[in-house]
Symmetry: C2
Subunit: 333 residues, 2 copies
Amino acid sequence: MARPTSKDVARAAGVSQAAVSLVLGDKWRGRVSGTTADRVREAARHLGYRPNLAARNLRLGRTRTALLVVPALTNDFFARVYTGAARKAAEHDFGVVLYPSPEGLGPAKDPFASARAALDGVIASSMAARTLTALHGADLPLVMLDSDPTDPTAGAHVNLDVADGMRQITEHLLALGHRHFLHLAADIDSWTFAARARAIQDTLHAAPDTTLRTAPAPLSTTYSRAAATQALTAPGSRPTAVICDGDTIAAGACKAARRLGLRVPEDLSVTGFDDLALATAVDPELTTVHLPAERVGERGMEALTTLLDGHTPTGTALPTQLVIRDSTAPPPS
Amino acid sequence: MARPTSKDVARAAGVSQAAVSLVLGDKWRGRVSGTTADRVREAARHLGYRPNLAARNLRLGRTRTALLVVPALTNDFFARVYTGAARKAAEHDFGVVLYPSPEGLGPAKDPFASARAALDGVIASSMAARTLTALHGADLPLVMLDSDPTDPTAGAHVNLDVADGMRQITEHLLALGHRHFLHLAADIDSWTFAARARAIQDTLHAAPDTTLRTAPAPLSTTYSRAAATQALTAPGSRPTAVICDGDTIAAGACKAARRLGLRVPEDLSVTGFDDLALATAVDPELTTVHLPAERVGERGMEALTTLLDGHTPTGTALPTQLVIRDSTAPPPS
DNA sequence: CCCTGGAAGTTTTACGTATAACGTCGCCTC
DNA sequence: GAGGCGACGTTATACGTAAAACTTCCAGGG
């Protein structure tokens, strides 16, 4: 037999379809007797009734579904953001559908066409936002993750205190005695990376006799290695510490250093960012900044639901935490 | 103004709602004149009309949405499976919604409740399937990934030739001169890992004077390291090669070896499996087996659509490929 | 005895779409 | 000039649900 509808349940219970809707929607008090309600519930259970979501969504005009826009899932930061968002969503009886990297999906597709489910709102990471001109004009509630807090196009922001993370990293290296730094900066034009660079500069500015050089690097272990090699062999003062915008870059930098005959951390300290699974897989394990990725996802979802309730979410930046592992040490004397 | 409906478009174009549906559904040939069709399209474009998917799904009785069930997205194998499935889905004008690790989502939730979108079919990885008793009885078309091909509960299978991958790895090590092996086996009861173990045994069985020991290891770099240390220091013959069921285990094994004073690959060869991003991030880069993860996702989606068309998908196992990197070498003399 | 009001339902309607079924007109054929 | 037929539409209906509006019955108060 085909999937049972509320009408089938009604027939089985000997009531009208409306009564079934009232009972199962838990709006029956004062409208249906307790015994009848029980009878309806029993019939529904027996038939294995599941409401047709398409019909419900059509009727209610909302879907309890959010779109999460991320640049790529193979980055486990975003995978964790998704996990957090999905968990929180489940609490609110919401669903989350993903719109991953347009690169991965071929020709720039309309995200709202790609997400077959109709949407109640959108949560977008800043790194993905640049590809999403389509977001404007869709007038859906929008929550932005780790993006410029002054950007008014978003209904809400969930921010990470990446500047504080970079400050912690830099001060950790300063405390170890480092004075000459190389910043391998992600070659992506994004608020979060700009904020990280500024934090390094600000922190070093307050410290005497320090030098900082910056080189761009792709966010990929394989390709960042070449960038690191080049930056480390460039003429000029040799850095004793390399600050990377991400763990993947740091992994590439470690390899580059080793090929140049530099031991990490004895001859060169290297720091990561993000605290990906990779950070503890490489040897030495990376000193890095832990980002509460799942909390970002949770907060994003929370912000979206408060937005949908007509309120304005309050936004404090989520803290980031320096994690000291084995890739940093005092500079060689 | 609220979101425009097909009725609004009809009014703007001076036609009936049915005509709008015909034109936009591209079923207008012989029913509507070309000029009228153009007028309708122009009106739709001008109003920014987007069909209400809930209504369409209700009307058509299907959603063009598939559920992909994976154990965890933080494993980039599954992230790539998703990417492949989503890309292929887009071609077929389908959507993919995820049901990730029940562990990640808290108390075992009904996957079909969690996916707010109604579903046309399910694609499930074997590693996730054990948690999905709910799949049975849902009588949705089901495609199983990398699972026991003789299992009849699935409508279709997409298989990886993991046995051949393990055979390639083992023969590579044999060719290098290794005779004494340690297999760090994933501590998960799943068809794919059983097949891998069998392949190692079969291959070594055909080679003279070889020994094989097996030890269980968790699929996590951090925890597998302890398992590797224990297995490597256990009394008895010392292996010269460690075959791991996954790259994460291999990364842990490399660290364990180094702490024991063994250089990789000079003193001990270590092999991975899966070819995750991690495989090229660690130093030395791992000799491993590349799995065409995105192709798995694509084939899964293809199988589902042929299933939905009422046909029986043909199933040949996808090939796996040995990738020789820097973690294997001849055994020490 | 009538009137009010609440309990326990039912009938009806609307959500937006796709499509089957039904008109109407003009032209061509026999 | 009757009949047919293709082009160009329109009208009507169904999908499954939620909820507003309506009905019926009965108890209790004045």
